[in-house]
Amino acid sequence: MKKINPKPEFLEKMKKLLSQADFEKYERIIQEPLLNSIRCNTLKISPEELKKRLEEKGWKISQPWKEHPEIMIVGNELQPGELGRSIEHLLGYYYIQELASMLSIIALAPKQNELILDLCASPGSKTTQMASQMKNTGTIIANDVNIKRIQILASNLERCGVTNTIITRDDGIRLCEKFKLQDLKFDKILLDAPCSGEGTMRSSPKTCLMWNQNTIKSLSKLQKKLFKNTFDILKPNGEIVYSTCTHAPEENEEVVDFALKEFKDKIKIEKINLPVKCREGITRWNNEEYDERVKFCARIYPQDNNSEGFFVAKFKKIK
């Protein structure tokens, strides 16, 4: 495995976020390969049947979370790309997805017959997870702004047999404004926001090279704008999950704090139950004090669950 070399400035930030012992664990775990995690596509096959088929191939399959039997770990050492080359993958029986990335949909808990917006949908891991939980009922509008990313999204939705989704290509903020004008409102929204990706260094070491604090600042502005616009098109009692794959408080708690201040008594932050070890959101960063309720957010660190890093917050629209 290629050595991961985060920039010293980034490591300094992580030191501030973690205790010394945690930071040492963090530094160690990011140099280790990720688990081979997959999600059974229940639109096409049951977890029992898939497990049986994969075990017949000689793969050692475990299901780490009892309440989510569709989530599986392949315990064998596999050749590079082997998970993506099996016939079961080509036929859409499973989706290769990192454990932490599955958490936003577990938090969102999509139900059958709901109308859901996935605003930044590509490559489609979370859209396919949603469609699977909705049993292809209701409607998902899966949007992305970039045509190349949309091609990947479309190809993944097709492979997974997703029939309840409309793919749109638009700027996220503009699309929300258009929905607002048409008075189209959603039961649930996933805002898996574009982010600096600090949590994905294990799978994507190039993130280390691209990391810089100025990008984080401009992403934080974009994330707040996206949140503001998505909240407007939520039905009363509708729910929104905001997630990122980064540790940066500017892109996480700062956005949540902004949302709580902007929408005051119209918004409620909800506690989330996730099947992994989570740390609560931080209330103080770089002399900024955040609303105490940001503690309800979930921070997922690689050293806690042998996963990638992630952040999830869930809100309800009260009025």
Binding site: K44, E56, K57, G58, Q79, E82, R85, S86, I87, L90, L91, G92, N113, L115, N136, T137, G138, T139, I140, I141, N143, I150, A154, S155, L157, E158, R159, G161, V162, T163, N164, T165, I166, I167, T168, R169, D170, L175, K178, F179, L181, Q182, L184
Partner: protein, 157 residues
């Protein structure tokens, strides 16, 4: 351009699917994108809601690609997902292949075998439908798209 098929056109497609594969019903809306490609959408957005959405944004795709009209004969060539979606209804023109043939098939290669069938047929390996092929006297032509092909036959068992 997205064209939501009206009832009459849907019935024409269904009648072809019935004749070719024994398919009796289609759950959802059929949509054509371009002249040949057919999509199935079974979300609960109404035709009017889809049209309204099209007015304000660019719709790239609706639902799933289930097949295409095969130009020379007008037959319908179901995609992998098309055959999987209708798996419980396909009763005609099925050709079952063995393990070795399934590897060759999923690599996108034609199968040099006599099937006794002619035209578009559904390919099946055990419980898995693997899309459609075009059967002629001594072979089955393959339509598996590049993105879905097996790159090494050593991987699967």
């Amino acid at each position: 351009m997205i064209h939501i098929l009206p009832n009459q056109e849907t019935q024409e497609i269904l009648s072809k699917l019935k004749e070719q594969f024994g398919i009796q019903k289609i759950a959802g809306k059929l949509i054509k994108i371009g002249k040949e490609r057919i999509f199935l959408f079974n979300g609960d957005f109404s035709d009017e809601q889809i049209k309204n959405l099209e007015k304000i944004t660019f719709i790239e795709k609706i639902g799933i690609y289930i097949g295409a009209i095969f130009p020379p004969t007008g037959e319908i060539r179901l995609s992998i997902e098309g055959t999987q979606i209708f798996k419980d209804q396909i009763t005609k023109n099925i050709f079952e292949i063995d393990n070795e043939q399934s590897k060759i098939w999923m690599q996108g290669e034609e199968l040099n075998i006599q099937t006794g069938l002619r035209g578009i047929i559904a390919i099946k390996y055990k419980d898995n439908f693997l899309g459609c092929g075009k059967a002629s006297e001594n072979k089955i032509g393959n339509f598996i798209p590049k993105s879905r092909r097996l790159r090494s036959k050593n991987i699967i068992k």
